[in-house]
C-alpha cells in the first residue's frame, strides 16, 4: 500500500520534522532527474552554438586583455599583484564568472522551467541542482584555460591547491544562496533579473577581481565588507601562494552561507506552490 500524500492549505512550517524529511527525500529523489536535466541543457546549449566551449574562455581573456593594456599604459593605476597581472585577471575573472553563474542559475532555472513547473509535480530541487551541475561543468572548462595560462606565465602553485575546490564550493554556494532567495520573486516579476544584471555589474567593482584587495580608505572597507571578497580571495590564494590572508572572514562568510543555504532552501520550498499558482498553465 503506497503511503498517503496530503495537500492542505496549512503552512509546512507547522510540521518541521515532516518538512525536513520531505526535503531529504526530494533531494535524494532529484539526483537522477537533475543529472538528466543537466545533460539535456548542456547538450542543447552546445548544439545551438558555433563557438561552443569558447564562450567559457572568451570573457576572462577579453577582460584580461583590456585591463592589461590599460594597466601597462598607466591609464588605470593598479597595485602590484603577487602573480603576473594577466594570469591574475584571467583566474579571478573565471572565479567571478562562476559566482555570477551560480547567482543567476536558480532564477534562470525557474524561469526556463515555468511550463514544466506549472504542469508536473516533480522535486523542484532538481532544476536548481541541474543548474549547479552546469556551473561546475562550465568551471571545469574554464579550468583548462586557467591551467594553460598558469603554465604560460609560470605561476607558482602551492600544494594547498588541493584545498582550493573547498573554497570554490563555498563561493558557488554563496551565489546559489542569493539566487535561490530571489528565484521565486524572479519568476513573478521581471524586475528581479533586470536588477540583478545591473547589480552584478556594480558588484564586480567591489570585488578584487581586476585589482588586489585594497588596504585603506572607504573603498577598502566596502571591498572587505563584500561577502564575495573573502571567498574569492581565499580560493585564489589557496591555488597560488598558499598563504591565506584572512581566514577569519572566510570562515564567518562560509558558515553564514551554509546555514543560510539551508534556510533559503526551506523558503524556496514554501514559496514555490504560491509562485506556480500565479503562473499560467
Amino acid at each position: 500500500m503506497p503511503s498517503e500524500i496530503v495537500h492542505t492549505p496549512e503552512s509546512l512550517l507547522k510540521h518541521p520534522l515532516k518538512l525536513l524529511k520531505q526535503m531529504r527525500q526530494d533531494l535524494l529523489a532529484s539526483r537522477e532527474l537533475a543529472w538528466q536535466l543537466m545533460v539535456r541543457d548542456i547538450r542543447a546549449q552546445y548544439r545551438q552554438s558555433l563557438l561552443g566551449i569558447a564562450w567559457a574562455f572568451l570573457p576572462p581573456i577579453i577582460t584580461a586583455i583590456g585591463f592589461t593594456l590599460a594597466n601597462e599604459a598607466k591609464v588605470i593605476n593598479i597595485q602590484a599583484t603577487n602573480i603576473p597581472y594577466p594570469a591574475y585577471v584571467i583566474f579571478s575573472m573565471a572565479l567571478w564568472q562562476t559566482f555570477v553563474e551560480a547567482l543567476n542559475g536558480p532564477i534562470q532555472a525557474v524561469t526556463l522551467a515555468k511550463p514544466m513547473l506549472a504542469r508536473v509535480n516533480f522535486p523542484r530541487e532538481a532544476i536548481i541542482l541541474a543548474k549547479l551541475g552546469e556551473v561546475f561543468f562550465n568551471f571545469a572548462i574554464k579550468l583548462i584555460l586557467i591551467v594553460v595560462v598558469f603554465i604560460w606565465f609560470r605561476v607558482p602553485v602551492s600544494w594547498t591547491v588541493i584545498l582550493a575546490p573547498v573554497a570554490l564550493i563555498h563561493l558557488v554556494m554563496l551565489g546559489t544562496l542569493i539566487g535561490i532567495l530571489l528565484s521565486p520573486l524572479g519568476a513573478l516579476y521581471q524586475d528581479v533579473s533586470k536588477g540583478l544584471t545591473m547589480a552584478t555589474g556594480f558588484w564586480l567593482f567591489l570585488t578584487p577581481v581586476v585589482f588586489p584587495v585594497p588596504k585603506e580608505g572607504m573603498f577598502g572597507l566596502l571591498v572587505r565588507l563584500n561577502p564575495v571578497t573573502p571567498l574569492l580571495v581565499t580560493t585564489r590564494e589557496l591555488a597560488t601562494t598558499g598563504i591565506v590572508s584572512d581566514s577569519l572572514s572566510f570562515w564567518i562568510v562560509s558558515i553564514i552561507t551554509i546555514i543560510g543555504l539551508l534556510l533559503t532552501w526551506i523558503a524556496f520550498r514554501l514559496a514555490m506552490p504560491y509562485v506556480i499558482e500565479r503562473l499560467s498553465s
Binding site: M1, P2, S3, E4, I5, V6, H7, T8, P9, S11, L12, L13, K14, A29, E32, L33, Q36, L37, V39, R40, R43, A44, R47, Q48, A113, P115, M116, A118, R119, V120, N121, F122, P184, L185, L188, Y189, A267, L270, A271, P273, Y274, V275, I276, E277, R278, S281
Partner: protein, 428 residues
Amino acid sequence: MSNKIENQKIDTYSKNAEIVASIENVSKKFCRDLKKSLFYGVQDIATDLIGGRRNSAQLRTGEFWALKDINFHLRRGEALGLVGANGAGKSTLLRVISGLIKPDTGCVRVRGRLAPLIALGAGFNPILTGRENVYANMSILGLSKNEINERFETVVDFAEIADAIDAPVQTYSSGMAARLGFASAIHTQPDILLIDEVLAVGDIKFKAKCYRRLHELRQNGVSFILVNHNPQAILNICDSAVYLSKGQMMAFGETATILNQYEQDLFSGKLENYSGAMYFPLKSEHESLGLDLVSICFKSPEGDIGKPIISGESTVLCVTFFAHQKFNDVNIHLKITELRQQGNTVLLLSNKNDGMSFDVNSGEHEIQLKIPYLSLVPGSYTMSIKLKEGSLGTFDLVESFKFTVQSDVNMGISMINQQRVWEIKSKL
C-alpha cells in the same frame, strides 16, 4: 430514489476497491487582475514564511472562488469524468489534485503515483532528439534511468516513430510530438492518471490505440480522472462523473445522469427554462385578419400545463385561437428547429399534409396535436406556428415558441428518440 440507484451502480464495479484519492471540501481562489495577483502571491509567501495564518478561507479584493467546496473520491480502477463549461475550474481541480498548487481550504489525499497527462511532452526541448527528450521527460515524471532503459523500446513502438527517434523534436509534426509525449507519460506506470483533454491530438488510429491502452490500464487497477469536452468520450470511459459550474460542484454520481444534467444546463437551463406555454394579447378589430392566436402550450395527457416535457413520453400540443367568423379549411403549420447544434429543422407538421382540415364557427377553439411518444431528444427547440386558410392565406403566426425537452436517460449523440421495445425470442 435516484440517489440510491446511483450508489448501487457505483458499488457494483468497485465494491471492495479502496479510495485512492479523496477531495474534501477543496476550495481555491484566484484573482483576475495580474498585478494584484502577483502581489497576493508575494503576500502569501511572506505570511507562510513567518509561519503566520493566511486566512485563506477569506476572499481579498478582486478575488473569486475558482473552486468552492468540492467533495468527491476516486476508487482504485475507477474512471471519473470531469465535465463543465470552459472556466468551470476543471483544470484548476486537476492541478490541486496533482499537488501543483495548494488548496485554500479543505484537503486532498492521494495514495500512489500520480501521472499528469496535462502536459504532453513537458520539458521537450526542440533542439534535442526524440530519444534525449524521452529520457528527460520520463525522468521529470519520476522514473529512474534504468526504468527508462527498460521501457524505451515500448515507448517508441507505441508512439510509432521508430525512424524519427534520433531526429530533433523540432522536425516533428505536432501529432508526432504529442504521440511521443503521450507514450512517455502512459508508460510511467502510474496509479492515478489525470487526463486533461489530451486525447484530442493524433489521428483516429492513434486515438483508438490510446483508448485501448487506457482500457488495459484500468484492467490493471489504474484510476483515471478524465477531462473531455466530448460527452460521448466520458460516457464511454467513465463510471462516475463530477459536474462543475463556475467553481461549484453541481453534482457527483453516475456518468449518464450527470452528463444529462450537464447537457440540459448547457443548452437551456442557464438561459431560461421555457415553461412550454405562450399567451397572446387580444388584437384589435382592424389588426385582426379574422383568426387570432390566443395561446400555445404543451399539456400533459391529464391536461396539466407547465409540466416538464419529457422525451419518449406522451404530450399534447394545444393551439388556442379565436375566430371572429365562420371559416372553412383552417390549417395549422408547425416547424420545429433544434437550438442545440446547427439549428436544423427537425420536424415539419401540418394537418393539411396529414389530410385533415378543420372548419370553425366564430368563437374560441383549441386544436390539439396529440403526441403519444415524443421522439425529440433532450434539448432546446423553437417552433414556428402558422394558422392558415387553405394553403395560402395566413391568419396569424408565431415565429418562435421556445420549449425544452428533458429526459431521464442520456441519449448521447442520438438525433431522435426512437420508440422501441426490446424482446428476445429463443427456440428451445
